[in-house]
Symmetry: D2
């Protein structure tokens, strides 16, 4: 329910609206639909045209906001943020939107992504006397804005963005304007929609569906949108690079009902499953998927292969953050936590277990054993993406290279570690074909760095892996 079951976590979700008299409420529902992108903290800053008001806190959107809080957030513009749960992430001070006050007015910033040169910039700024409130890379942009020497937020922001490298989807707001910017490679998704006369912006289009908004288009790489009471204006702050949208959004992160760059996620995943059935067929009795993210791929695999799709395991929806971990002794006695096998389905059967990706391999291993304990005759593991061999520096909390199982083992070794009867991954070509960007669109690039090691931007010696402790 609250967290997916593997060590692969999205950084954040961003939502913004301008021109709606219940901007905070709209943002609240938008953040709800983006909750899967981050569960550590949530926040909303609103503008009523004259002043900003903010509320944020640790926990889920539901924990942080209540009716009274929302009522006090009156305004026509709002930006909101959900943040991914990290161990050393600095707690409350790092919950976004970051919010700054001065005698001249307020400033709020929400960010999805990761800056690869944040440490360099922070060093320079502190040497000049700037005091940082958080340990988040996002705050660097605030100081760049304040020190730019320009007068308008638009100039200040363009100036600040020109120093940044890496992946970013920013929503920035002062009393009078909402601005939205995407990095030159468009590494993170960001879409624009309309809700009546209002403009809305969100990391995923599922946020439009929940509030009844209409999808307009994607924010373009290197584009800066300025939205205010006069409407929306598009600017370029940099010439666009090659589009390199994160492949893992399609494979794992985004909600099945979202479209990323006009491609529906459920459909993409089902196609990945079909592609996988073509590339790596197997004789079996049932196909099952690891809930929730691998269900679509499993359905695709079943449809292509003709093997019936079944619920082979169940996710315990009530395992939240306050769940008490079983003792080692009870765990050895067989106490389960996040997943239960459906004995009535797998007993005596040859099972194809579809998972969307493998990071450290420990979860897959546990699931294979669980299925065997429940009586599965054979367990064939099929992964609907290529092996992850390289760390991500753009906002995905993959493990370090040492921890990535595919970085240190052959497929046969992995199969043996997991205890599976067979193991196969989708090929990179199969991934591209399954997602289908090349056929669907003009600027069809996508980031495959975690599979191939080819990073679309520079990486520095001290680039901080997201959520490493600062």
């Amino acid at each position: 329910m609250f967290t997916e079951i593997k060590g692969l976590n999205e950084e954040c979700g961003v939502f913004a609206v301008w021109g709606h008299k219940e901007a905070a409420q709209i943002t609240y529902y938008g953040l709800h639909s983006l909750q899967h992108r981050g569960q550590e903290g949530a926040g909303i800053v609103v503008s009523d045209g004259n002043k900003l008001s903010a509320h944020k806190g640790l926990g889920l959107v539901n924990d942080v906001f209540n009716q009274d809080v929302l009522r006090n957030l009156q305004g026509k513009g709002a930006i909101g943020h959900v943040r991914y749960a990290t161990a050393g992430g600095g707690g409350y001070a790092n919950v976004q939107p970051l919010y700054f006050n001065s005698q001249k007015g307020g400033l709020a910033i929400a960010h999805n992504g990761n800056l690869v040169n944040a440490n360099h910039l922070k060093h320079q700024l502190e040497a000049q006397g700037s005091i940082f409130q958080s340990t988040s890379d996002t705050e660097v942009l605030a100081h760049l804005i304040k020190r730019s020497g320009y007068y308008t937020l638009e100039e200040q922001l363009k100036n600040g963005l020109s120093s940044l490298k890496g992946a970013y989807a920013f929503a920035v707001m002062n009393e009078r304007q909402l601005m939205v910017a995407l990095d030159p490679n468009g590494l993170r998704p960001l879409s624009i929609g309309r809700l009546g006369d209002a403009y809305v912006v969100a990391s995923e289009t599922c946020a439009f569906d929940i509030i009844g908004a209409t999808y307009e288009r994607e924010v373009m790489p290197g584009e800066l949108l300025i939205i205010d009471d006069t409407g929306l204006r598009s600017e370029r702050f940099v010439s666009p690079g090659n589009r390199a949208i994160c492949s893992m959004e399609y494979v794992y992160f985004a909600r099945p009902d979202s479209n990323v760059d006009t491609i529906n996620i459920h459909t993409a995943r089902k196609n990945l499953g079909k592609q996988l059935a073509i590339e790596a067929p197997v004789e079996a009795d049932v196909v099952t998927g690891v809930p929730d993210s691998s269900i679509s791929a499993a359905i695709g695999y079943a449809e292509q292969s003709g093997i019936p799709y079944e619920l082979g395991m169940i996710k315990n929806r009530y395992v939240g953050r306050t769940f008490i971990q079983p003792s080692q002794e009870l765990r050895e006695q067989g106490v389960k936590m996040k997943l239960s096998p459906v004995r009535g389905v797998v007993e005596g059967k040859r099972v194809v277990m579809i998972d969307d990706s493998i990071v450290r391999g420990t979860t897959s291993r546990r699931i294979v054993h669980m299925l065997r304990d429940a009586g599965a005759a054979e367990v064939h593991v099929r992964i609907s993406s290529p092996p992850i061999k390289h760390p991500c520096f753009y906002g995905i909390d993959t493990s370090t290279t040492e921890e990535l199982i595919a970085s240190n083992h052959s497929i046969e070794e992995m199969r043996e570690i997991m205890g599976a009867d067979s193991l196969a991954f989708l090929s990179t070509e199969g991934l591209k074909a399954g997602i289908g960007r090349s056929e669907a669109m003009h600027n069809c690039g996508q980031c495959l760095a975690c599979f191939t090691g080819e990073y679309p931007t520079e990486i520095y010696a001290d680039t901080v892996h997201p959520h490493a402790k600062v």
Copy 2:
């Protein structure tokens, strides 16, 4: 996540264990897997052989228990309970297990079901000077036990049970013994398992899987089990009636990974879906199910019909009890709550929407409209059970007859109210065939009262519908 999306709610879940040194921990995990049966409150009473200790509270299992609380519940025997959320349900005092102390020792009772003669018995007992602590029908049994005039709990309990009528699965515990009893018709499910040397009892077998226990057998109608340090002993307190286990457990309540009377729930539901495809076929492009309970039936319908199964709607998992309801205005603007359509899947398609049952019909109506708004060309509603026309007095919180849509409208009228292109229900014969009890077992009866109005027990003029306000 927290509640299913229709007005049909299970009363409770019961779990018990005797002979395990971490009885409270085991019960905690067992209750977790039964959380879908009740979210209002949860409680555990343990016995260490000399005294009982109790903890209970309003909310989910995770809200009520933490590490410290569990550590203080030391004992070898335990009974636990999750309770369904009701409006007028008396709050904390009604959270079970009910727990009573006297100079002679303690007594704890957990109950799933509903007594049809509770009001009569309570009237008699109060007239004789008994003071009730709760408004729950369960407490009647405690007073009957205390006033029986017998010395041993076994005799007291047999005497007490002989006055009860209706549906009940009881777990009763004092310092030295755990007792478990099922009503003469076996209206509610109750299974026995082993965990090492310990005995475990649960409303559903999924509780055995989560703790690594082995299924032994069902508790029999009219059976009283006495479990203590000398082992398990089976007694009869009444001659068994016809088995009449609740059909809705198969259709809707139980978890897909549970087996009820040895029949797997997911498989039963998939068979109901197949049966439905045979009885009520339709030309269409995609099959989709209302999450979570109708997914299995939808897969079955798809498999039988050859129409692809797709994720046509998504459940918002983070809509909990603290979720802020959208204002009427926002709702009209299209703000969704529990379900979102997957536009990319249904747009331009002829959709078969599988639901497991219809109570008031308002949810189905909302879903049909939501699918149409998302672009569905046609919406064909197929229900994997017969129309519910009669109230349940055995522990299911169906609406009153006035509110049951099928009790007041023809199928064509219902179709029109819902705005569907076509509507069909499974037949009663199809239901029986799909579940498959007749082929699978000796005492194969099941309660079909909500479909047929034929109640397996007496019903009195003042029989309290569960959760009517007392």
Copy 3:
């Protein structure tokens, strides 16, 4: 602030009102003024003429009640209770008023005092099948009422009270009537007042002052008051015994602004101090009292002796229940907790330290040392009551005989244990003279049992000392 600094604690405070449209609010303020009589829990039950509503909880009145809760307690009659903090006191279930529901209606009971035959009665009732909800002696009265066989609450209550022995001030309420009863010896204080047309009843008259009510008279020993919409009626349920009101109410428990049996507490204490100065004079430079309860006596001693009264020590008002105890090491380094000496006042001075009573002697010892450490040249301890040598069975949580220092040591031994330069107690005759009941009133008896061992009622072998664990 929250607790006095010695091991001598009042059981409870009772408040009741009938005939005021904001009965709950009035009771809330009344309980506030009685908060010093009990800090474990608080509760209010109201009647609107047709039904009772209740709210209670653990903690201070301020912790338990808020604006919303009070608003929901609509009614014209109310009884309220504050309960003293005990270790083994059974928690929430024992918080009063006890509140019982039946098909015939509700019943609420609040009690100050202690029943000496509660154990006998409870044994009998349980043997007949009654189930107790709490471990409090108060609940015995509820079961006696329910089993009386009479029809009206007045008859039921008279019948029930006739079985009770010990100290009690009861407020009992159903939907239509408020009843108030005092034990035959009048061991506990209970006063009647008027607030407009409404009647109010309280353990202390300070509750009348805070709500602006007018004092009428004391409830008489053995009197039963029936208050309803027709007014107040006085009945006798037993012939009155000798008045034996608790002397410690004058010495220590009651608030200085209360009058007990028409005698002002501050004035009584000041007179005890004067009397003490006459009986036990000493040459000294300053008189100081242990805050808060001994201030009045210290002022009296100063006035009589001509030695200036000074603030020789200060109570730390912010030491609440969540205060973190200093480690043994820090304590040895001199970390103080509840009291600080005023070095500027006591340094180099001969100090008379007035305390109102001594229970275990540990606090007095600590204070003497603290004053010496702060530079006092001499410390002369004067106690404004006689030595406490016998346990109380009437609702005061004195220690057992073994722990009472005066029960096991001569005055000279006590002086040495405390490290004082001199020590003197007030005589029993001085106590009676100082309080001045004999001159002031007709039925002038008072309970001196803790000083003399002469108990005004029977005491049984198994009489439970208040707050011994049941």
Copy 4:
């Protein structure tokens, strides 16, 4: 209990320690004894020599800290702060110590006082790109330190302090050093003590008594103390001005057991009361003081005049921040809140009511009426300080000039407003004589600005009155 009953509030209390292995615990107890100086928030920052750790929060010291929190604050040095409750005070971000992190290390600042040129400085700093985290004037010093261009904290701090004007007692700490600075006029109190080998610093000496420390001396105006593992070093960062310690510390703020500049507060107040009895005698039966701050003056008045001192009113200790205000209707019916009269003491008597100061006069008026309602024959108000006619800019939250009753009314008008039989204030000369600084010490100046309007520092057009909204 939690707040005094007039509109006159201290800003803050500061505590610091270096060289004690339980620095956080020591600071916790120190802050407890300073709790009367601020109840909005509390915080502690510790240094273990290598890094700083912080914890702070809104509420009382007891609310903010618990055993677990303190255990996690390991270190040998600590600074702590309690903050006064303000309406527009910015909430959590303004709770002190302010705490800043950079790649070079941490910095913590705690402040008692008010800077009269904070607005000017903040304007300059923001224009240069500094981002403020709080709305507190204290943060100005942090930015001055970071922008100083010096390398050591000592140089940075001296440089920063040289820009400040107004009243300040600062405690500043990094990983290796604790520094303490007092403004050139010494407007706020700050004392040094020893606890074994450790140094302690506190706003009041009562903090030394509670932890068992020994008083050493006052921090001097314009003195900078550097405390580290090598000991304590005294520096001057500015030539000292005339000592101008706040007179209201003696009259009202400080705890009776503190010594301010070696003068005991209780003794000073008693002398003010004696002086008042000489200057403004009256024929009466009893003397009583408004609790708690006027008790000492009342005792002095009684001793000098020979009229007996009595408890004429009682403070309700349980009226905390969650207390529910009585409705207007109940208030008119006589419901009291913070003070109750002692009817048994004042009825029929001529009462001298001693108060230490008058700000808006509303409380005094209420008390006079309350005493009359309780039957007082005459009420003579005597104030143990001169009329407050001018606002304070140095950290005391007096009202604005418009609200100061003495600024707009003659004494006779005030008497009539209050409804007193007579009213008299102490003279400024009487105040100086009563406090006795002139006889007691060399640099004997004191700030009398609120009585005389003669401010010891410059005041700017935009000097922010403490707690005006920024």
